[in-house]
Structure formats: structure tokens, C-alpha cells
């Protein structure tokens, strides 16, 4: 993959939406005392109403928002503070950016990426 401005822009969009999903899910849990499952489902549900333009479809905005919400279901990430959320969002959007074509069509791939990035985020913080 040749590095170009187009790819960087695409990654920035993925990172931004991942962070948005993660923050919103965390906000729902802390502000309204919703359970992790309901907060994540509500985040994904609201995110799925973002208009499906060509650009949004190519960025997989709905999927990255949902993935961010999965990360926010983990107490070890959100309790560690904004720095950890940023790190995990960076890791998650990067993994999704590069690995997505290999997992295409299999259920749970979004959750798997969220799980891997959560684990990596905690490991980096622990040993970094």
C-alpha cells in the first residue's frame, strides 16, 4: 500500500469516528448509568443513521463507530482515562484500516479488532 494523502485522510476519518463511538458510549454509561450492552447498542443504533453517502460508505463510518462502542464496554480502558482511550482508538482504527479486507464478511470481526486493540492498549500502558 503506497502511502498517500488519500489514505491518510481515510485513516483520520476512521480514527475520528472510532474515538467518537468510544467517547459517546462511555458518556452514556457514566452520565445515564446505562449498562455497557445498552450503551454500546444505542451508540451503534444512533450511528447507523448517519447518512450513507459514497464517502461515508468507503470509510465504513457505521462500523468504526460500533467498534469504538465495543472498546468503551471495557472498564480497564475507560477507567484509565482519556489518554488510554486515544491510544486504543489509534490502535483500533489502524488495525481495522490494514486488516479489514482479510476478515471481510465474518461476524464478530469488529469485536475482535476492538478486543485486540483493548488488550494491546493495556499491554502498552503496563509495559510501555
Amino acid at each position: 500500500m503506497v502511502f498517500s494523502l488519500k489514505y491518510f485522510e481515510l485513516w483520520i476519518l476512521k480514527f475520528g469516528t472510532f474515538l467518537l463511538g468510544c467517547s459517546f458510549c462511555f458518556f452514556l454509561q457514566s452520565q445515564y448509568q446505562l449498562t455497557a450492552v445498552v450503551a454500546a447498542a444505542l451508540t451503534g443504533f444512533l450511528g447507523s443513521f448517519i447518512p450513507d453517502t459514497k464517502r461515508i460508505e468507503s470509510t465504513h463510518v457505521h462500523a468504526t463507530i460500533y467498534m469504538g462502542a465495543f472498546v468503551a464496554m471495557g472498564s480497564r480502558v475507560v477507567n484509565a482515562g482519556p489518554g488510554q482511550i486515544l491510544l486504543v482508538s489509534f490502535l483500533g482504527s489502524s488495525i481495522y484500516f490494514f486488516m479489514s479486507p482479510y476478515f471481510k464478511g465474518l461476524g464478530g470481526r469488529l469485536g475482535l479488532i476492538a478486543f485486540i486493540s483493548s488488550l494491546l492498549g493495556v499491554a502498552i500502558r503496563f509495559w510501555g
Binding site: 445498552v38 462500523a63 468503551a72 464478511g105 464478530g108 475482535l112 479488532i113 476492538a114
Partner: protein, 125 residues
């Protein structure tokens, strides 16, 4: 009791999501999240001690149901959701505190069924 409830809920979650995606043509994320929200509301109104576990099991099973038609048909999705139910009961507690554990279990279940199907097809040739 809990294992059977989880298995039942897992089958329901996966099948409802699969139906909404492939028959009603709902976007995948919306099918998964909307069905989870409705299920959470219904179960929340019941007086069951393990409501949280049932909601999580349904939510995880909807990820299995998000599998594309080209990868798994509805019967294989049913099998994958059963595997997910077992994994959920025995392994998910180990992943407490990490987001995405449900999805990882769902991915594992769908992958196992998909790979097994592929191997069986190969051995028939």
C-alpha cells in the same frame, strides 16, 4: 438453567439479526443494535437474576448474525451461535474488563464453522 437460557438467547439473537439483514435488508449495524435494544428492554422488564448475562449473550450473538450470506447460511449461523453460547458461558468471564470480548468470541465461533465447512468441502473432492 443459565447455560440453556444463554444458548436459547444466542440462537435467537443470531437468527433475528441474520433475518433482518438478509430478508428485511436492514443495514448490518442497525440490525444488530436495534434488536439488542428491543431485547434489552423486554428482558429488563422481567424479574430474572441474570439479566445482564442474557443481554450480553444476545448482543454477542447478533455479531454472529452479522456474518455475510456468502460466508455462512442460516443453518451454519445457528451452529455458530450455539458454539458462541458455550464459549460465552465458559470463557467470557476471563475477558472481563476488556471491550470486544463478545465480538472476539463471535468471530471465533463463525470462523470455526466457516473453516470446518471449508475443510469438509475439500475432503469431498
Amino acid at each position: 438453567m443459565m447455560l440453556w437460557s444463554v444458548l436459547l438467547v444466542a440462537i435467537l439473537g443470531a437468527q433475528v439479526t441474520y433475518f433482518l439483514i438478509h430478508k428485511v435488508h436492514m443495514p448490518t449495524v442497525r440490525a444488530s443494535s436495534a434488536s439488542t435494544l428491543i431485547f434489552a428492554l423486554i428482558v429488563g422488564a422481567l424479574n430474572i437474576s441474570f439479566v445482564g448475562a442474557l443481554q450480553a449473550a444476545f448482543f454477542g450473538a447478533t455479531f454472529v448474525g452479522m456474518t455475510d450470506k456468502s460466508r455462512l447460511g442460516w443453518k451454519r449461523v445457528l451452529l455458530a451461535s450455539l458454539i458462541f453460547g458455550v464459549v460465552f458461558v465458559f470463557l467470557i468471564p476471563l475477558a472481563q474488563g476488556f471491550g470486544g470480548g463478545l465480538g472476539a468470541a463471535a468471530f471465533f465461533s463463525s470462523s470455526v464453522v466457516y473453516s470446518a465447512g471449508k475443510m469438509l468441502r475439500k475432503s469431498n473432492y
